[in-house]
Amino acid sequence: MKAGVDIGPTNTDAALLHDAGAVLATVKVASVPGDPVASVTAALGRLAAPPLVQVAVGLHGAASAVAGRRGLCRVAALRIGGQEAQAIRPLFGWPDDLRRAVEAGSAVVDGGGGLDRADWTPLDRDAVARFAASVAGRAQAVAVTGLFSPLDAEQEQEAAEIVRAELGDLPIALSADLGSLGLLERENATVLDAALSGFAADMAARLASALAPVTAVHVTRGDGTLMSLEHLARHPGLSLGSGPASMLRGAGALTGLADAVVADVGARRVRVGALAGGFPEEAVAGARIGGVPVGLRIPELVRVARPVEPAELAEAVDRMQPGAGRLPLVVVGGGAHAVPDGLHPEHATAAGAIGAATSPVGGQYERIVRLAGRADLPAAMEAVVEQARASAVRAGADPLHVRIVEAADTPLDYLPGPFVRLRARAAGPPARL
């Protein structure tokens, strides 16, 4: 028996599912303002469940913490890139209030890479140590962003070691763990990840104690998978975008569709997204959190205000289609009745909770590599697949049952040279403890 919980701003949904996935019961309770953990226990209490093996929770608190500028850590932002990456400073262009809430100093130190191995400049280790010393006592977390780290993350790790030696054990977020090429968006995501580390550690500890003796407690991620509470504490940014992601996953679970356009009808607005191969279609560009452009793997969404204007909704649905009328529309969420079109599966109002309960623990890994010929592809991909598998296990997946759900190679025609983006995603059931 397993349960999923989805904490919304107004209501919290919970769903009880058989281990095989059948929905046994759903409930809806009013959310406890400002206390997500109390909302979870209230919803699970109403569910009157027998002893549970697993609970998966959609917290969604990370995005509201950023939006409300509440409970954020002060972050030292370190960029590695020297004179190749000075034209726009770290955190330049952020909304003033968010920047004031988050920034504990920033620096651009020499180092960083390029598309070719010969382009790399050695890391200025002394400058990293000086910067770390200069923020001691002020910074509660550190965000490290290296130029071209999606090709090689070594200098970010090297810098993190120096910072740790200087400042001791504090959260350090590395950009290569979070995003792809696009320095500023990746850096913004990394700074937000670091800023959320206090919130995440607090949530993880409180959820664990509130749900004890259930040990398999997981939270939802923006890519439509789950992660353990320990993983949340280390990588809080991964939970950004998790609300829409679990709603999309729930729509897939309730209809058995791997590919669909999904309209999530809330009280004030409709969010339209898409499922591709069972997971959310990701935003290619233009994702923003708290007024800041971020390069995170989160669902692409088109928002439509309520009351729903049918033509406007039809346009939003069409925009999320890969081609005219190719995919079915699934309508979920508390206000699903307001949209007559499309499939309306049973339990659709609790789609977020069901998506949380039915999603696997996941991990992914991405690297951009220069491949002289197709013959080199299998070996390069194998390394990426192994990293994805390891990432899923670190997030809490059962190492014996992790499988690769995606292994894609995408030629990057817009880069000069034979560059290919290799990306693998792995997923598996939660590890039994």
């Binding site: 890139g81 020297g82 004179q83 190749e84 990456a85 000075q86 034209a87 726009i88 400073r89 330049f92 262009g93 390029g114 598309l115 070719d116 382009d119 130029l147 071209f148 090429l181 696009g182 320095l183 500023l184 791997a258 590919d259 591709a276 191969g277 279609e281 290619v284 560009a285 088109v302 346009e315 069409d318 925009r319 999320m320 289609q321 890969p322 081609g323 005219a324 690769i404 759900v405 995606e406 292994a407 894609a408 995408t410 990057l412 025609d413 817009y414 880069l415 000069p416 040279g417």
Partner: protein
């Protein structure tokens, strides 16, 4: 006139429109310009007639991959390195900056670099839009020497190119781009003040500022129905119309029933109906609601020698009516042209020899199942 942080958004949007779907996204360059204006104050915009006849005017821009620029956002000293080399060769100080290419990222970079150098920006540019090749400039048409030209990166690594014409400049710069990591800052076609009025596209900066707030009525509004060869289905008042757009690294032609509504050197801009943002060739995707706008280019590009360098045939488009400068901004009916006749030759876009990197087909959606294993 000055450009400050307040007028920058309009200027950047105008530059994006003049990119005609290419020229690189303005996002990074606009942010770089914002920081430069914030750090160094507003940039004075001067008319060519205000320039001292002997004043050295330095055209600037970046060459190469805009995807590289999204990661390697650039330094603060590129224009300093370019200026040092130019001054060493001419023996006199550089007195003004000119955008090599107003369209796309380079219009914003020229503004950023003028701010960093503390120099005025001339109200003109080399192209009057974005073009893929460095020699597709008014300076080339007017016989200004392409060299000495300089390329450099943020660390000041520098290449100086001498004694070549525009075509050779293009060849040598493309060859040097790879060791530069795919992208570099450049200056070429350096001029004296008295040459600017006759050898550049005039009024480009004020035009970008104006287009940033005010655009001509669209040729058509609708949704992108196909992306391989771009097809736009008219919506609303344009319901029932079907328009095809030819594109390379820029949008090159808008055709309805085989007849051109706009053809390069016309600027062709797509605007997202939802956000108002300019959509470039790499972000064309199914379902986007767009309006298609035509902005006439500088008259010099509609002359015989202008068309030879940057007209439709220079982009591999054959069988199209030669665009006329007099095309109205908002044709009430599609103008009849030879292409409208039955059996008219099909318009084809060829890749250009020695041109810019090939346009990508935009972010590709993974097909279901294609990557599962």
């Amino acid at each position: 006139m000055r450009i400050d942080t307040g007028s920058l958004p309009a200027y950047a949007r105008g530059c994006a429109v003049l990119g005609s779907g290419g020229g690189g996204p303005v996002t990074i360059a606009r942010a770089a310009a914002l920081q430069a204006l914030y750090d160094h104050g507003p940039v004075r915009v001067v008319q060519p007639g205000e320039l001292d006849p002997e004043l050295l005017v330095m055209p600037v821009g970046s060459a190469g991959s805009s995807a590289v620029m999204s990661e390697r956002v650039g330094g603060t000293d590129e224009p300093v390195h370019l200026r040092r080399q130019i001054e060493r060769r001419y023996g006199t100080p550089v007195g003004a900056v000119l955008a090599s290419e107003i369209g796309g990222a380079n219009g914003c970079l020229a503004l950023a670099w003028a701010a960093r150098l503390g120099l005025p920006l001339v109200d003109a540019d080399g192209m009057s839009r974005a073009f893929p090749r460095m020699n597709q400039t008014v300076m080339e048409l007017r016989g200004i020497s392409a060299t000495p030209a300089v390329m450099c990166d943020g660390r000041g690594r520098t290449v100086v190119i001498e004694h070549v014409d525009g075509r050779w400049l293009e060849r040598l710069v493309r060859a040097a781009l790879e060791p530069f990591g795919g992208q570099a800052a450049t200056t070429e076609y350096v001029m004296r003040g008295h040459q600017v009025a006759s050898a550049t596209a005039l009024g480009s900066v004020t035009r970008a500022l104006r287009l940033g707030t005010e655009l001509p009525a669209p040729l058509v509004s609708g949704k992108i129905a196909e992306t391989g060869s771009i097809v736009i289905e008219g919506l609303g008042a344009d319901l029932g119309r079907l328009v095809r757009i030819e594109a390379g690294t820029e949008f090159l032609a808008v055709l309805e029933d085989g007849a051109p509504l706009a053809v390069v050197p016309d600027v062709i801009a797509l605007l997202d109906a939802r956000t108002g943002e300019v959509v470039d060739t790499e972000h064309v995707r199914y379902g986007l609601r767009v309006s298609v706008v035509r902005v006439p280019c500088d008259p010099v590009w509609y002359t015989e020698e202008g068309l030879r360098l940057a007209g439709p045939e220079a982009f591999g488009l054959t069988g199209l009516a030669v665009p006329a400068r007099g095309l109205p901004d908002t044709p009430s009916a599609p103008p009849a042209g030879p292409g409208a006749a039955p059996g008219a030759p099909r318009v084809r876009a060829r890749s250009e020899a020695g041109g810019a990197p090939p346009a990508s087909g935009g972010p590709r959606r993974p097909e279901a199942g294609e990557v599962a294993r």
